[in-house]
């Protein structure tokens, strides 16, 4: 079985580095993940 997440999150605007809340994944393809572990921040 498979779970697909689709979600909105802040992105940085080119040239506007003030946006410090840009979303970034903290995983790589092929990683094993478990419930509760961060996928991104």
């Amino acid at each position: 079985s498979t779970v697909v997440l689709v979600f909105q999150a802040p992105i940085s605007v080119p040239g506007d580095e003030s946006v410090s809340s840009e979303f970034k994944f903290s995983i790589r393809e092929g990683d094993r993940v478990r419930v509760g572990e961060a996928l991104g921040r």
Partner: protein
């Protein structure tokens, strides 16, 4: 005699040939998988290449196979228990007949009592002239009759209780249950074959009544600590990261495998009004120059089920749309948790097909995730839109929603066409829906 000798030789020969052929197929399959594994380690990316098997799969009654598999894993074990149960059922029947005997004994003594009461009544009539004695005797008889009546009611209640107990015992014995001693062996074999971690199971192995129940087991307390960082989004399941990224570059398409992509709106069934990429670039240039003012429409307009949830904060930072695809192996923990604190506004159920979802299927079957049976939850979190799609497969065809237990999936197919529209439900109260905290249990994949 020669024909019977021929036959006696034929049967084991055919059986042997079948076993050898299945063994050869399995060996070839393992060799192919090993080759793919090695190539993947070298970083080789497989291209999409539909093959004849994928086309053939469309003709196979996968839903019936899936439902039969579910039936098998929840009933198979009870055929072993039938004998045990039948033996226990005999025991129960003996107990019932024994209790019937005592009941009949008590009823004979009651008959004697009522005969006595009758005799007393006769004496009373005989001695009706004796007015001194009559009042005490009649009160005695009344007490006896009350006692007798109460006894009768008591016996009736006892009989009722006995019948209840017997039928309860029968009900328990005839549900789909493994014989207790047999259960750990089955679950250990499953764990060995699919690399499950048995240490984490919440209950002792012999308390899972069937493989199906074991498959959807919960875990011991604190087996999955939730990342408490308020800015992070957690994994909703145990699994392998197949794909992730942001949809800015890829428009509204997610890559299934190199060379083939499927569309987000087909997967989710929502009709996101994601503007085309030119609009997005045009809009973001405008955004950089002019400050966002109230009447400027937010450039990420996503229609959800209810317009109330359009992006209300035009002044919020620029938003992107991200995705992450997680694959669960058969031996993984199969409950689904909430990735963030969010409000689930809509549930969409697509009955679809039940193709397998393994690595080979993603390489050979186009639109695999868009064709398969799935349940989509859609709503909002603090950063905007959030959706989660749970997609079933042949062996794990049904999805149970803890927030909507009545939802039935993997139902027998009524119509042959697979493109029936999704059944949609908007959760009450509209605009707020069902509130979920990060880490809450949301759903589970069931066998069959």
């Amino acid at each position: 005699s020669s024909t019977s000798q021929g036959n006696s030789f034929l049967v084991p020969g055919a059986t042997m040939a079948t076993i050898v052929m299945l063994g050869a197929l399995h060996a070839r399959r393992m060799y192919n998988d090993k080759k793919i594994e090695e190539a993947r380690e070298k970083g080789v990316e497989f291209e999409f290449q539909p093959d004849i098997k994928a086309t053939f799969l469309r003709l196979v009654p996968l839903r019936s196979i899936s439902r039969f598999w579910g039936f098998l894993t929840s009933v198979l074990q009870s055929s072993k228990t039938d004998l045990g149960n039948r033996f226990r059922w005999k025991e129960t029947r003996k107990q019932i007949s024994a209790s019937n005997e005592n009941i009949s004994e008590t009823s004979t003594s009651v008959d004697a009592l009522s005969a006595l009461a009758l005799g007393l009544r006769r004496m009373e009539r005989l001695r009706s002239a004796v007015d001194v004695v009559v009042p005490t005797l009649s009160s005695k008889i009344a007490i006896l009759e009350r006692g007798n009546y109460r006894g009768e009611r008591e016996r009736e209640r006892e009989r009722e209780r006995e019948r209840e107990r017997a039928s309860e015992r029968a009900r328990r014995h005839f549900s789909s249950e493994l014989p207790i001693w047999f259960r750990p062996h089955v679950y250990r074999a499953w764990a060995r074959a699919f690399h499950s971690n048995l240490e984490e199971a919440a209950k002792p192995l012999n308390e899972y009544a069937s493989l199906r129940e074991f498959f959807v087991r919960s875990l011991k307390e604190d087996s999955r600590p939730i990342d408490s960082n308020p800015c992070c989004l957690i994994s909703p399941v145990d699994g392998t990261v197949l794909r992730f990224g942001d949809l800015k570059e890829a428009g509204t398409m997610i890559e299934q495998v190199k060379g083939f992509s499927y569309s987000v709106s087909s997967l989710l069934g929502a009709r996101p009004l994601l503007p085309s990429m030119e609009d997005v670039q045009q809009e973001s240039r405008v955004q950089e120059k002019a400050p966002r003012d109230e009447d400027k429409k937010s450039w990420w307009r996503i229609t959800l089920a209810s317009p109330k949830v359009r992006d209300p904060e035009p002044a919020s930072p620029m938003k992107g749309l991200f995705y992450c695809v997680l694959y669960l192996k058969p031996g993984d923990y199969h409950r689904i948790h909430s990735p963030v604190d969010w409000n689930v506004l809509v549930r969409r159920h697509f009955s679809g097909r039940l193709f397998p979802l393994n690595e080979r299927a993603t390489r050979t079957i186009r639109n695999l995730y868009v064709e398969n049976e799935r349940v989509v939850l859609e709503g909002r979190w603090e950063e905007g839109y959030m959706a989660m799609a749970a997609i079933g497969a042949t062996n794990i065809g049904s999805i149970e929603l803890f927030i909507e237990p009545a939802l039935g999936t993997n139902r027998p197919r009524k119509k042959l066409l697979h493109s029936e529209p999704p059944q949609e439900r908007i959760y009450e109260p509209a605009g707020a829906g069902v509130m979920l905290k990060k880490g809450d249990e949301v759903a589970a994949f069931n066998m069959g």
